[in-house]
Symmetry: C2
Subunit: 157 residues, 2 copies
Amino acid sequence: MSEIDQADHATLALQLQAHILEHIPLARAMELRVARYEGTELELTAPLAPNINDKGCAFGGSMASLMTLTGWGLVELALRARGIECDIYVGDSSLRYREPLFGELRASARFVAGDALVIFLKTLVARGKARIQVHCAIAGEQQDAATLEAAFVAKMR
Amino acid sequence: MSEIDQADHATLALQLQAHILEHIPLARAMELRVARYEGTELELTAPLAPNINDKGCAFGGSMASLMTLTGWGLVELALRARGIECDIYVGDSSLRYREPLFGELRASARFVAGDALVIFLKTLVARGKARIQVHCAIAGEQQDAATLEAAFVAKMR
């Protein structure tokens, strides 16, 4: 496993955005963008207008979708950065909606445990399949507007 | 609380579909339809094409969005049928993704407990606010492709 520098991170983030927008029509409809990637944290954004609900705030489904994609993207990028080709699926997820959001949706994802990525990569190489736990949140005014705890499963191609 | 007959159910279902498609752009992008409403159960559908992912199966965010809207719609319709005007918000949710889905998304929602609706309506009238637990599932080939357990909170306008 080699160290990945910041320039590679930016390139990987742009490639991920292109991949998502090409292959996931709902992400296009949400006008999703990759805002920031730093190896252990990924941030995706989407404007309110295409993600609004009948009460004028962010639609719960858009928040769930954005956080799911942010968590999935974090795992996808960690593997792409190391040249590991996998299919990654979202597993069991817990969502909390804490306050209504009346502006841009900004979701960040990080691995729950500090050593989770190392164990995940070792297991994946050894068994061809591994699971990792990701925490995602959408920023709100007073607190997180919503949070997601989700497992992602990677399977070697 | 009066009894609601089947013709009213069909009218309410059409009104709900129009309301969702008018006010929630992501539901339009998903090509959501109200398929069936029977008072204690609501079924919404969406075709695969606008809800596909990069692996050729249903996008997890689309499944989460469809189930959230189905649960929300079930609560919304129960209140509309009784002429009660509320804002309804999705609360804490648990999602399970059980198998990939390579066809139409078909989500059904029902109240978790048999007497849940009666208690919910009584509390709502007494306190102006109440919470109800809903179970949703998307049909798969061998089993449910995905399930959602979610709380919905209604607040009198």
